[in-house]
Structures are given as structure tokens and as C-alpha cells.
């Protein structure tokens, strides 16, 4: 076990006008850990994720990241240039709606290759080879390399978005409902894929979901949010099997048995 967390989050607070979106959220994320943030719609999960990923500036608190390139950095005071460099090299962000995370007007290969080109790759053949490899790893037929994502199904788009993010071998990936809005069979495939990739690449991840089944399958730890506050946190199976807070008990009791 290492002694340095990858992400140190302290008292992160974000308001929209008078309304509190998330309040005093603190936690450490350790290398190789997958943290789930669960809660119903409007509980502040996505706002928190955006604050963590540097997409939104919190009104209070701090997010520090132990970067491979320059050690511990405070994410929000970073210059925009450095923050954006971080987000396209050491981080990934998987949107719920793949259309937001993909360039719909260019081919799958270009989508995967963009991060490589952004950090200086200038050999077409090599970029294409890497893109092909990743297409295979996310189980998309290799002959779809030159097709645009507009011609892809929802599940394929989501897998393409995952490949586009992971091609730069990030250490930390933020995911916002990565299986939301997909058929259960398609979900299962993506969950299985993510499970494998997270384990094999030793990724750390913060995953927002309202699906406790997804949380159980993918995460090591859970934070349960209600009204912008973390009401319960702990090991995923602890929180789900022995929920302490009234809200968590209600959430767990609301799962439909199959």
C-alpha cells in the first residue's frame, strides 16, 4: 500500500445562488481505488464530480492531485493551461452522454487518436495502429475504425468514449453515469469492460451513479449523498449490506429484486 493519496479533497462546497449543490465534501482517493458517489437526482453528485475534475470551480475547499509530472498540485489555482494539460494527459472524463465526450463529425480512429496528437504524436501510421488496438480493447469491430460515431449504437459510442479517454493512459478517470440510458445487456458489457480495464491498468476512478448495482460491481468505496452532503461513506459492501443512515437504508431498500 502506498502512503500518498492520489486525490485529496477537503471541504469542497459549491453553491448556485442561495442553493447548496454540495457542501463540505472531504475524502482521500488512493491509487487503484474506485470511489462511487451515489444518491438520487439533485443530490449534488454531478456537481461534486465536476468540481473534482476541475470543470467547475468550487466556492470553498480544495482539491489536490498527486501528479506524475510535478507532484502534488492544487487543482483549482492551477493555470488553465496546466489544468487542461492535466485533464488530457493524466485524467479522463467519461460523460453519461457519449455525444458530449466524442467528436461526432470525425471517425472513430480520429476520436481515439486526438489525445495522442494533442500531446505531439505526428506519425499517422502509429496513431492509427494505437487507435486500432484500443478499438479492439473496447470490443468494437476493427473495420469500424473509419466510421463516424454517428453510425454507432449507444453502447458502442460509450465504449468509444472510454477508449478515447484511456488511450493516453490516464491515472485517474472521472465517470458520470457511464451506463446511464443504455439497455441492461449493453450496460453489462460496458461494466465488464470497465471492471477489466480498471483492474488491468491500475486506474483510480471516481464514478457517479444512481444505480447501486453498478456501484457494487465497479467500486471499492461509496459515498452516499443527500441534499449536497455526504451522509454516509465506507467500503462498498459495508454501505450496501449494513447501511447506517436512514437515507442509505431507504436507497438500499428501494432496489427492485430480480
Amino acid at each position: 500500500m502506498t502512503d500518498t493519496p492520489l486525490l485529496l479533497v477537503r471541504d469542497v462546497t459549491k453553491r448556485f445562488g442561495g442553493r447548496i449543490a454540495c457542501c463540505d465534501v472531504s475524502f482521500d482517493l488512493w491509487p487503484g481505488e474506485v470511489l462511487g458517489i451515489v444518491g438520487e437526482s439533485g443530490s449534488g453528485k454531478t456537481t461534486l464530480l465536476n468540481c473534482l475534475a476541475g470543470r467547475m470551480t468550487p466556492d470553498g475547499g480544495s482539491v489536490a492531485y498527486d501528479s506524475a509530472s510535478s507532484g502534488l498540485v492544487d487543482v483549482h489555482p492551477l493555470s488553465e493551461a496546466r489544468r487542461r494539460l492535466l485533464t488530457r494527459t493524466e485524467w479522463g472524463f467519461v460523460n453519461q452522454d457519449a455525444r458530449e465526450g466524442l467528436r461526432m463529425g470525425v471517425s472513430a480512429g480520429a476520436n481515439i487518436g486526438e489525445r495522442l496528437m494533442a500531446i505531439g504524436a505526428r506519425h499517422y501510421g502509429e496513431i492509427r495502429q494505437t487507435a486500432t488496438d484500443w478499438l479492439g480493447r473496447v470490443e468494437i469491430e476493427l473495420d469500424r475504425l473509419d466510421d463516424r460515431p454517428t453510425a454507432f449504437s449507444g453502447g458502442m459510442r460509450q465504449r468509444l468514449q472510454i477508449a478515447r479517454n484511456l488511450v493516453s493512459q490516464p491515472r485517474l478517470v472521472f465517470m458520470d453515469e457511464p451506463t446511464g440510458g443504455l439497455d441492461v445487456s449493453v450496460q453489462a458489457r460496458i461494466l465488464d469492460l470497465l471492471r477489466g480495464l480498471v483492474a488491468n491498468l491500475n486506474l483510480s476512478a471516481v464514478l457517479v451513479t444512481h444505480d447501486l448495482g453498478v456501484a457494487r460491481l465497479l467500486t471499492h468505496r461509496l459515498m452516499v449523498m443527500q441534499g449536497g452532503r455526504v451522509v454516509e461513506a465506507g467500503l462498498t459492501d459495508q454501505v450496501l449490506d449494513d447501511p447506517q443512515h436512514a437515507y442509505t437504508q431507504m436507497l438500499v431498500a428501494s432496489i427492485l429484486p430480480v
Binding site: A188, R189, D192, L235, D242
Partner: protein
């Protein structure tokens, strides 16, 4: 031999908020110490808290108070209230658990489910698969099922996949929750044999065995688990 698992003052109750914060005390002041080569069978009436105790020992249930000290690597680590990553590390290397039910992972073949804990500990994939196939074979799972996801397996088959997954790593401490429930006699014997091998090789085992024959075959001593309300206030965890 010094105990590898030492429990003291373990108290656990459930608070049901949906029912006016109803408190259900389950365990009170449980004490237990277990050394390598021992197999302790938890005995008590249904609802006495045997499963709850086992889950507390695995860190699956949180305890109200008390201590669960585990010999982990070369250190003694407190499991009660431990950080998630500490608990996970203990589970990865020291603590194995066989539950009654297999949590099926969609699309993953049985052999990979079994091999996974070994691979996580650094075993080569091919080697881990070989051991997984060996265990599945010993537990009577026909080879044609190895490459299938166990979602469609029978209850007994799933149970055996689960046992194989928990035994592929030589955990120093094993927690067994009805490992032979829903198994026929032949498969039951295979499981009993595997558990005895582990025990004799120095694993410390705590288990719930409904089948008295199985219990007699594997356990070295009995721990009575008494429901805390019958009689009220009585300590549980009476030594045999």
C-alpha cells in the same frame, strides 16, 4: 501458537430507521481468539447472530464497539473501524470468505471468477487459470461449464464456484458461512476435504456448518452464539 484472529468486546446492533429508529441488538460483548490450525464452528439457534458475527469478522458489517485484531502480513491490524483500503488489503491477502450465495458478475466465465483473487495477488494468468480449473474439477464442476458465466448455473454449482474462488488463495484466515448448504453428499465430501486440508496446512477457520456431520468433520471446537435477548443482558461468546 499465538492467535491470528482475536476478537474482544464485539457488540453489534442494527438500527432500522424506517421503523422509528428501532434498535435490534444482535451481538453483545463477543470474545474469540483463534490460532492457526484451528477451526471454530459457530453454533446457535437461527437468528442468534452467527452470520452477523461472521460478517463483522470480514468487515462487511460495521461493529458498534469492540476490537477485531488480525495478524496481517507481519503486523497486527485492527479491522473494526479500519479505513476501506486497509480492509480491502486484509481481504486481498489474509482473509477469505465463503458466503452462501455467489454474486454473479455478468459475462465473466466461471474459471475467470475463480482465478481473479489469485491474479490480483500477482499470480500469472495462466497459472491462476490452471489452479482454478483444478479446484473446479475437485469440486465436481464439469469442464464444459468452466468457460461459461455462472449466472445460469444451479444453486449448488454456483456455491461450489464460490468456494473455489475463496480457496484459490491460501488465506491464513478463512470465514465460511454454510459452505456445504445446497450440496449433495458427494460434492459435500469434496468441500469437507478441501477445508480440512486448509486447516491442517495452518489456516485459522471460523465457520457456520448446519450439517452436524460436516461440523464434526472439520471443526476443532465449538462457539455457542446466544441471542442477546435470551436471556437479557447475558454475554455471548461462551467458551466451550
Amino acid at each position: 501458537m499465538s492467535p491470528v484472529l482475536r476478537v474482544s468486546g464485539l457488540t453489534k446492533s442494527f438500527i432500522v430507521h424506517a421503523q422509528g429508529d428501532l434498535a435490534l441488538p444482535v451481538l453483545r460483548d463477543v470474545a474469540l481468539a483463534i490460532s492457526p490450525g484451528e477451526c471454530v464452528a459457530l453454533v446457535g439457534p437461527s437468528g442468534a447472530g452467527k452470520s452477523t458475527l461472521l460478517r463483522c469478522l470480514y468487515g462487511n458489517y460495521r461493529v458498534d464497539s469492540g476490537s477485531i485484531q488480525i495478524h496481517h502480513g507481519s503486523a497486527r491490524v485492527e479491522l473494526a473501524g479500519a479505513e476501506p483500503r486497509v480492509t480491502l488489503d486484509i481481504r486481498r491477502r489474509t482473509l477469505g470468505f465463503v458466503s452462501q450465495f455467489l454474486r454473479v458478475i455478468p459475462r465473466v466465465p466461471a474459471v475467470d471468477i475463480v482465478a481473479e483473487p489469485a491474479i490480483r495477488l500477482g499470480a500469472a494468468e495462466a497459472e491462476a487459470r490452471r489452479r482454478a480449473e483444478f479446484l473446479l474439477g475437485m469440486l465436481g464442476i464439469p469442464p464444459r461449464l468452466w468457460s461459461l458465466p455462472p449466472a445460469t448455473f444451479s444453486g449448488g454449482e454456483q456455491q461450489r464456484v464460490n468456494i473455489a474462488r475463496s480457496l484459490i488463495v491460501d488465506y491464513p484466515i478463512l470465514l465460511l458461512d454454510e459452505p456445504t448448504a445446497s450440496l449433495d453428499a458427494a460434492n459435500c465430501n469434496g468441500v469437507v476435504e478441501l477445508i480440512r486440508q486448509r486447516r491442517d496446512a495452518g489456516a485459522a477457520i471460523v465457520g457456520i456448518f448446519h450439517d452436524t456431520a460436516v461440523r464434526d468433520a472439520v471443526s476443532t471446537r465449538i462457539l455457542d452464539v446466544v441471542p442477546p435477548r435470551f436471556p437479557p443482558g447475558a454475554p455471548v461468546g461462551v467458551q466451550p
